[in-house]
């Protein structure tokens, strides 16, 4: 209850001090203003997606900043000495720290909730005001590919090890490897596998490929649809930039209906095909056949090679939840990050006074946000086989890498918990993911950071000047 009193106090301060107002104003500008600044020539889906993406990202960033600034309250209380009175009341120090964190967290939750509601409302606004390009298509695309929570499944890659093994044996019989120095059979087999894999991913004109999906656990009724998403990646641009092909779904051996879907797809783009869900078999598998032929009589056929690159992927997607809950789970994930950040900034203001603490918290924020990027950059600047002592530069780079590795223990990788991209592309922000974020960011890391904060605060003489 005393913790709650401190949290209440923090909330009152957050609301009455102008800083929160400024941030709310900024967030409001972004969220409310974005729809009006989106140009009219993008498609409806594009407009809604870029709005959601920018809106959520910016709101998340601004709330992160707000969190850091709100924590200023603690160092303010030390500088202006209100802490003298608070600490002479029977308030255990840990409750003060937790109360402050709770206050910041609750403020964030309220702000984030209103951001969510505003974004939700604005989507409808955009939907009804966006200049239609193709009314029915736009509406359907938005409804099926954005305002849903879809589960995505990758296809099952065929096993190439047998083919590789066969070729390997044949090569040995033919004595191909006899002159190779330091011959490593495992490496060679790996190379052969990759060769078969790469070959499989390329579909020449007139050729076809079978994609098999497992665990398509959707409602297999005729009225329901599953979606297939792929990228039309062709060897040469057709003059009209259109790639024509035929997709066939269903498995007659398992007694499903077979649907043939001819496509005219813009090259170099991702496309989504909708198929009635009863194409999936009873054992929850789905077969998709791709034919590199032109199913449109009378239209030109350019002999193009389609390549299904590993990085592009071919996915089956089906609806597993509503957009609203997906939005909610997205916000929860964002909230987890803010909760961790709040713990960090509370820790910082306990150790340092305001401007320094603010910088430190911001550094952690940036490090957490750009962790992968930084790790790659550091890795790149280090030579491949260098050791720490081979040069001065290596010494610095490698020490940095070591420090950075140590930071990993505390600083999480925010990119791993960034739901915006999934959410915007209508993918399910899974409950498991959310629970992972809750446990890693909040239950473990935020608690550790708060624990350190409490420990340091206990040792601290509050009447000492802080730096």
């Amino acid at each position: 209850m005393k913790t709650w009193a401190v949290a209440r106090q923090m909330i009152a301060e957050g609301i009455r001090m102008k800083i929160a107002l400024v941030f709310i104003f900024l967030i409001g500008m972004v969220v409310l203003g974005l729809p009006f600044s989106i140009s009219g020539d993008s498609s409806l889906t594009g407009a809604v997606q870029s709005f959601m993406s920018y809106g959520l990202t910016t709101a998340g960033f601004l709330l992160g900043m707000l969190t850091i600034f709100l924590s200023r309250s603690v160092s303010d209380e030390m500088v202006h000495r209100q802490i003298f009175l608070v600490m002479t009341k029977p308030l255990p120090r840990w409750q003060y720290v937790v109360g402050k964190w709770l206050g910041i967290t609750l403020l964030n939750a309220a702000f984030l909730a209103s951001v969510g509601l505003t974004i939700y409302a604005m989507i409808f606004y955009i939907r009804y005001t966006h200049p239609p390009a193709d009314d029915r298509f736009d509406e359907a695309e938005l409804k099926n590919e954005v305002l849903v929570a879809r589960h995505a499944l990758p296809f099952k890659l065929p096993d190439f090890s047998q083919s590789a093994e066969q070729e390997f044996q044949r090569n040995i019989e033919e004595g191909v490897y006899q002159d190779v120095p330091n011959f490593d059979p495992a490496k060679e087999k790996d190379r052969l596998m990759q060769k078969y894999n790469a070959r499989w991913r390329v579909v020449g004109p007139g050729d076809f490929r079978i994609f098999e999906f497992e665990n398509v656990l959707c409602n297999r009724s005729k009225d329901n649809t599953v979606q297939l998403r792929y990228k039309a990646q062709v060897s040469g641009y057709a003059p009209d930039e259109i790639f024509r092909a035929l997709w066939r779904f269903g498995d007659p051996y398992k007694g499903t209906p077979v649907y043939e879907i001819p496509v005219r797809h813009m090259v170099d783009r991702f496309h989504t095909i909708r198929v009635p869900a009863d194409a999936a078999a009873e054992d929850n598998t789905l077969m998709a056949y791709f034919y590199n032929i032109n199913p449109y009589p009378g239209e030109p056929q350019y002999l193009n090679v389609q390549e299904f690159r590993a990085s592009d992927g071919v996915e089956v997607l089906f609806v597993v939840g509503t957009f609203e809950w997906n939005l909610f789970r997205t916000l929860v994930l964002m909230m987890c990050k803010l909760m961790f950040l709040a713990a960090v900034s509370v820790l910082m203001v306990i150790v340092f006074s305001f401007p320094v603490a603010c910088l430190c918290s911001f550094t952690v924020y940036v490090l957490a946000g750009a962790r992968q990027f930084l790790a790659e950059a550091l890795d790149m600047s280090s030579d491949d086989f260098a050791t720490m002592f081979s040069s001065v530069k290596e010494f610095f780079v490698q020490s940095l890498i070591h420090i950075y590795d140590m930071l990993h223990w505390v600083i999480p990788d925010f990119a791993r918990f960034d739901p915006v991209e999934s959410f915007v592309s209508g993918r399910n922000v899974g409950l498991v993911w959310v629970l992972q974020a809750v446990s890693e960011l909040v239950l473990i890391k935020a608690v550790i950071v708060l624990g350190i904060a409490i420990l340091l605060f206990h040792r601290r003489e509050v009447a000492e000047l802080s730096f």
Partner: protein, 399 residues
Amino acid sequence: MPVVQTAGLCKVFRDFWRRPRVEAVKDLNLEIQPGEVFGLLGPNGSGKTTTIKMLLGLLYPTKGRISVFGKPPTDVAVKGRIGFLPEDSYLYRFLVAHETLDYYGRLFRLPSRIRHERADRLLDMVGLRHEAKRRIGEYSKGMARRIGLAQALINDPEFLILDEPTAGLDPIGARQIKDVIRELGRKGKTILLSSHVLADVEDVCDRVTILYGGQQRAAGDIGDLLCQHDVTQITAPRLSPKTVEELRATIQRLEQRDILTVSNPRVKLEDFFLKIVEEAQAANIRTYGARKGGELPEFLQKPAETTAKDVVDSLVEASTRRVEPLPTREPVPMHAPATPASSVIEELIQPQPVKIAAEEPISQPPTPSLDSQRLRKKADLSVIDELLAGRGGDGKPEA
């Protein structure tokens, strides 16, 4: 058990590199008994506030031990029994007065009903009930200070620590704080106060310690420290020159010494000021500032130590011990019965209402301190006889 006990207390402030910079408190041994009003005196920077902060656990001592109610000052339960008024009002500028009191009440886990009731009573007491809806940030210094006092009392503390309680207050506020201190002292609460206004300290304290450079220079019972045993003061109704002459002759005859001064006493400026303000208040002149507060709230009225038996015991023990000479290292004037002669005479001769312009009696003379009251009860006329018979004064009687 003493409320506060320190042994060899030292505080050294260090700089960023941990080099010692200021030795703010040196080898301080304090002992504050329950029910005592204890004064901490000393020039600026002599370590009063530092001592208080250590008693409150805001600073940790460099050396030495502190116990407050027998526990270390960082103990959370101990803090529930303490009220603290810091030397500046460190309040939240964005809260209104009532919210401020409510917040501190919450930190004591007071139930909501009691919080509101006490907040109202205390705002009444400090005369800010009418301005309770304004933010503290808008308050004048003294108004904020009054809220500071109110928050110090919200938990009905057994031990009240006041760092320069009268600083920044108008005479009404100062007087009122003194009244509150005296009243609380009478109810058996323990009070530690530091102040530069020596008159205030003299008015309210039972015992004082004077610090200089963080060290204790003098300590003892205020009656003992200040009593001029060789002067007698008589206050009488206005006397005609003839009577004065006759008195002089009588004293000359009985004591073989002359009267030192004869004058009309002046009313204290404090009393005069209070009267003017009271008049303005009666005439309902609008103010956005503090008003003269009311009485001590009821929840503070009840005698303090009714809860813990051992505290009662120690209180009784303390009050009996108080009459004995206190153990200090400083020479304390000797006294047979420590009876300030002046107070005894005061009682004998009813004070004459002093006239000021408006021809009406002024509120009341300042209440005598706890000690003089207690001692007065024991006084008997023989002391007067003794005084009149043998001892006289050759110092200056006080005006």
